[in-house]
Structures are given as C-alpha cells and as structure tokens.
C-alpha cells in the first residue's frame, strides 16, 4: 500500500487513537453529548494535529533533543490559540458548545503523542497524512459516541427527529454518567467481537498515567511500530 494511504488506514482503523489506543479520553467523554459537537471537536483537533505534525516535522532537526517537549508544547499551544480564535470568530455556536474544551486541545494526549512517536522522525508529507489519519480516527470515534448518546438520550440525530413517536428518551445518556456508559459499552462490544484495545499493554509497561509525554514513551517501549 502507498505509504500515504497506509498512514490514513493506520490512524482511522489499525491504531484508532480513541478506540484502540484509548488516548484523548477527556474530550471524548466531555463533548460527545451531540453528534455535531463530536464532529466539531474532532475536526478542530484534526486541524491542530496536521499543522503541529507538519511544523514539528519541519523543525525536527532544529529542535535540540533535551528541550523538545517544551518546544512541542509551545508549538501546539500556539496552533490551538489560532484555532480557538478562528472558531470564536466564524463558528460562535460551536464555540459556545465546546467551551473550555477547545483550549484544552493543548493537553490532548494524541497530539503530543504523535509529535513524539511520529512527526519528529519523519518527513513533513507523511507526517501530515499521519495527523490527518489520526485526526479522522478521533473524529469518527467522537461522532459515533456523540450519535449514540444523542440518539438514546434525546431521540435525535444531528438535531433531526429520527426515533419513532412512542420513543421515550433516556435523559441520563446526555448527562455526564451517559458518557462513561456509552464508552464502556462500545469497548465491551469491541472486546466481545475480539477487537483488542491496546490499553492493557500501555498499562503493563508501567505508564499508568497514559498522558502525552508518558504515552509516547509507552509507544517507544512497545518497539515503535511506526518505523
């Protein structure tokens, strides 16, 4: 397979950041109340991810190894600020819905994880595709979770009424507990049909926190299957 397409396949299916690697759980749980919020959050993160991968890939020889994490954080934080201002200016309703979770894209494990595991040792072109693949994988996972919660909790899908007239929405699913429940059921179904999440592996390699810097260390410890 073409190496650019391979990156897309890897991000969306093989190493789906949310469903397989279990990274970025905070935004997944928080903004999946509506399918449309899931898409909005997913695409914002995708934009940041592609740009940060490209910038870091271009600068990978210029950034000294010892200070690379602070350097990555500054790059990601700048890109997030730009994205936040753009969303505030052009998509005010999305800005209202996502609120504090837009600036919090900075601490999304997926972004620093990809910088550390992929962008800092690959060409800008493939790094961009890697960002696109991972971003789309994240977007799809968020949209599925959002669609399920909206469907069960509110009886609508993308704001349109789709359930039969007698359907009584189960309100808890659009409230905080529903987020935990929906993700638990999705992983349960994946376990039952034999799709393995890699979280167990991450935990076993003693990276219990599983957030950004730590997660990337885990991926390295696993032998860096990105090579």
């Amino acid at each position: 397979m073409n190496k650019y397409l391979e990156r897309l396949y890897n991000g969306i299916i093989k190493e789906n950041p949310t469903m397989i690697l279990m990274l970025g759980m905070c935004p997944t749980l928080a903004v999946s109340t509506r399918a449309i919020n899931g898409i909005g959050m997913g695409l914002s993160t995708t934009a940041v991810l592609i740009l940060s991968n490209v910038v870091i890939s271009i600068l990978r020889k210029a950034i000294p190894d010892e200070v690379r994490l602070p350097a990555y954080i500054v790059i990601v934080a700048s890109l997030v600020t730009v994205t936040e201002l753009l969303i505030e200016a052009y998509l005010p309703s999305l800005y209202e819905a996502l609120g504090i979770y837009i600036p919090l894209i900075v601490v999304n494990c997926i972004i620093l994880g990809r910088a550390e595991a992929y962008a800092n040792k690959n060409e800008p072109g493939v790094s961009a595709m890697d960002g696109l693949g991972m971003g789309l994988g994240f977007t799809i996972a968020l949209t599925i979770a959002g669609a399920l919660r909206e469907l069960i909790g509110n009886g609508t899908l993308f704001g349109a009424n789709v359930m039969p007239a007698g359907f009584e929405p189960i309100g808890i699913f659009v409230q905080p507990p529903g987020a935990f429940l929906v993700i638990a059921f999705i992983i349960m179904i994946m376990n039952a049909i034999g799709i393995k999440t890699r979280q167990r592996k991450l935990v076993e390699s003693s990276c219990d926190g599983c957030c950004s810097a730590c997660a990337s260390r885990c991926e390295k410890a696993e032998g860096g299957d990105d090579k």
């Binding site: 928080a30 997030v80 600036p103 900075v106 601490v107 219990d208």
Partner: protein, 192 residues
C-alpha cells in the same frame, strides 16, 4: 465568607472535576488501581493545582489582562504549569525528602493532567479574583482526590469478583465511574 465556602463545595462536589467535567480522566482511570497510590496522587494534585491556580491568577490579573494579551493565556498557563511542577519537584527534593519520596513519581505526571490547565482557564472564565481562584483550585483538587480514592476502593473490590469476560478491564471501570457520576449528580440539588 459564605460565598467562598460555596466556591469550595461547588468545585469539589457539585461540579466534580472528573465525574462532571471529565478533566484528568487519564490518571483517574490509570492510577486508580491501588488506594494508597491514588491517595498519594490526590495529595500531589491538591498541592500542584492550588499553587498553579494562585500563580495563574496573579499572572493573569497583573500581567496578561493589563497588557491586553488575553489571547496568550493558554500558552502562558501551560508553560507556567510545566515549569511550576519542575520547581515544586526540586523544592521538595531539597527541603522534605520524605514528601518527595511519597509524591515524587506522580509530579511529572501532573504536568499533563488537563485538570490543572482546566482550573486555571475556568478561573479566568468565571472572573474569579485571587482568593476565589485559590479556593476554586483547592476545591477542585479535593474533588479529584475524593473521586480517585473512591474509584480505587471500588476497583479493589471488583478485582476479587468474577466479571463477564467482555467487561473485564476498561469497561467495568467505566461503568463504576458512571455509577459514581450518577451518585454525584445528587449533589447538584444541594440548596444554600
């Protein structure tokens, strides 16, 4: 005075940082295997979030806001938090090795805990002054500690039960968290 107490209770219980706002989920799910480790992480989080909210509040009120550089807050806060955790780590190492030994491994982990940045940004959003920010940070961190210690206790019981195979691992932990979250929703009907 009453409003200050209200800030602490609201941020600890009603708007619980983990169960209601989904911040710090990574460490909440990752470190909650043992009660002791969870409690240590909780104390480290209380320590760091309280100091970070104080510093972030001062920086915002006296540097960013007067200069009209509101848009820089995300970048400034994340850098300040990262540096702060390093300083706290070095300070503890020199002054109180006992505390450092207990909290040491958790401190670097906290840098990437979204709850720290989340609280700093929420404080700015709510327009809290210095004292309110510190109390809100403290309350949030206490809420985090309560949640993670409770989940660790539940997990130590789950560990001995016979769970259906597909539910083992992450799903059962998430379902426990969901039930805790339902319980915490009860606090939202508190009246003052």
């Amino acid at each position: 005075m009453k409003s200050l107490i209200l800030i602490v209770i609201t941020s600890a219980l009603i708007n619980n940082v983990v169960l209601n706002q989904f911040l710090g989920i990574c460490s909440f799910l990752g470190v909650s295997k043992q009660i002791k480790a969870s409690a240590s992480l909780g104390v480290a989080v209380i320590f760091v979030i309280t100091i970070a909210s104080a510093v972030a509040s001062l920086l915002y009120d006296y540097i960013l806001a007067p200069l009209g550089m509101d848009f820089m807050k995300t970048i400034v806060f994340i850098l300040v938090i990262a540096a702060l955790v390093q300083i706290v780590e070095m300070f503890l190492k020199k002054t109180s090795p006992a505390i450092y030994k207990a909290l040491g491994i958790f401190l670097p982990l906290i840098t990437t805990n979204c709850a720290v940045l989340g609280v700093a940004l929420t404080n700015v959003q709510n327009g809290y002054n210095f004292i309110q920010s510190v109390l809100c940070g403290f309350g949030t961190a206490v809420g985090y500690t309560i949640a993670i210690v409770l989940l660790a206790s539940i997990r130590s019981r789950i560990h001995e039960e016979d769970i259906p195979a597909p539910l083992r691992g992450a799903p059962i932990v998430l379902i426990s968290a969901a039930l805790m979250s339902i319980a915490f929703m009860g606090f939202s009907s508190l009246n003052f």
